[in-house]
Amino acid sequence: MMTRFGSRNGDRFSELYAKYYRRIIYFYVRAFRLPEEEAEELAQDTFLKFFEAMDEYRGEAEWAFLETIARNVAFNRLRSLHTAKRSAKTINIDDPDFSQYEPAAPPERDYADREQDALHRKLLHDAIAELPPGQRQCMQLWLEDFKYGEIAKALRISMDAVRSRLRDAKRLLRERLGDDNELPEDDE
């Protein structure tokens, strides 16, 4: 296969591998918190795909090309995890064997406390869910620790739009959750 692309491409490929393999692993481990074994598998996959596309690629910035492939490989892996989860086996709660799937009960807390917590969670849940879509999307990503710049990039909107939508979302949440409830400060 190497000869198919000629030794010049083969040499270039081995150079790129030596230069960028560690960074790709780092990318997967740090950005997606993947286990090292999985990161290794994805990194090899990335280089394989890069090698296959190398002959067609005529651009200058090989690194940028490699980065795009690495992101796509990560995207496909994470997407497949989600689709697998969605098609996972569902268990009927009427199934007599259901009890064997049931997780162990946590240590019992006071009933009133548990009720209070559940109510509080529902309040927060509803408050987020009822935000206008643009504000909610920004809020959802912000809660997942996306920076303002990252939110702007993911949602393809301006930084100003992110700022104003988050400010409005927090104001609405404050109103819904009561005046005495403070919200965390912005961290751009």
Binding site: F27, L48, A70, H120, L124, I128, R156, N181
Partner: protein, 247 residues
């Protein structure tokens, strides 16, 4: 005071519920079109909603690429030896012939097909040569008019042929034979074993049938040509013509 962690927990619960309604995450193709701004406003909004619902996927767009490498002891650190091993593994994979399921079967069929093609070619060539041979003029050593065995000369009177050319020409008369819609000829050996049979033959104006027999077809010995009349009710043996091939 509400903490971000509490909001995050609530959000996670919301995602668990919402993902069932959201549908599958966007495909890589949709993501490419989205990041290039090639989607309609409605489609773009749908992808935004999905990315908010699948923040892990949104991260593939935004996660900064590292400009440095992990230090020893940090997660994801790869030593020089590990790097060499992994490069060797990848290199092996790249050099390996494409491992397709059923490759052996494919190889077998390839060999079988090649053999079949070679055989077909050989037989084709032989057939072509045979057809060429048949199309060429041939020398008949002698042309013999065969006499019926028992009607004119009686049994035991046989025509004798001496090999000389490429073929024998045997002329069988139809004179005084009953009229049939068609006739058939057959060559049998001394033990009456059939060596050759003609198809139905229509009587000619000169009341004869001529058989051109390649010399190699008949080894020295005794033979008979048998004449049959072919009608609606079947075949009827009409005459036998004995002959002997000299060595």
């Amino acid at each position: 005071m509400i903490t971000k962690s509490e909001l995050h927990d609530a959000h996670r619960r919301m995602l668990d519920e919402k993902r069932a309604q959201l549908g599958d995450p966007p495909t890589a193709r949709e993501m490419l079109a989205y990041s290039r701004g090639e989607l309609s406003p409605d489609e773009e909004e749908r992808i935004r909603e999905l990315l908010a619902g699948y923040p892990e996927l949104a991260r593939t767009l935004t996660a900064p690429f590292p400009t440095d490498e992990p230090k020893p002891g940090e997660p994801g650190y790869v030593s020089d030896d590990q790097l060499k091993q992994r490069w060797s593994a990848l290199e092996k994979h790249l050099y390996a012939p494409p491992a397709q399921p059923g490759a052996r079967v494919l190889q077998f069929w390839r060999v079988a097909s090649a053999l079949a093609a070679a055989i077909a070619l050989t037989f084709g060539a032989l057939l072509w040569q045979a057809r060429l041979e048949l199309g060429r003029p041939r020398v008949a050593s002698e042309s013999r008019y065969l006499s019926p065995d028992d009607r004119y000369r009686g049994e035991g009177t046989t025509a004798t042929l001496t090999p000389g050319g490429d073929a024998y020409t045997l002329v069988t008369p139809l004179m005084s034979q009953p009229i049939f819609a068609a006739y058939r000829l057959e060559i049998v050996d001394a033990r009456d074993r059939s060596l050759w049979k003609s198809g139905p033959l229509v009587e000619r104006d000169n009341d004869t049938f001529v058989i051109l027999v390649p010399r190699a077809f008949l080894a020295p010995g005794s033979y008979k040509v048998v004449l049959y009349g072919v009608g609606n009710s079947g075949e009827k043996q009409l005459d036998k013509f004995s002959m002997t091939i000299n060595p």
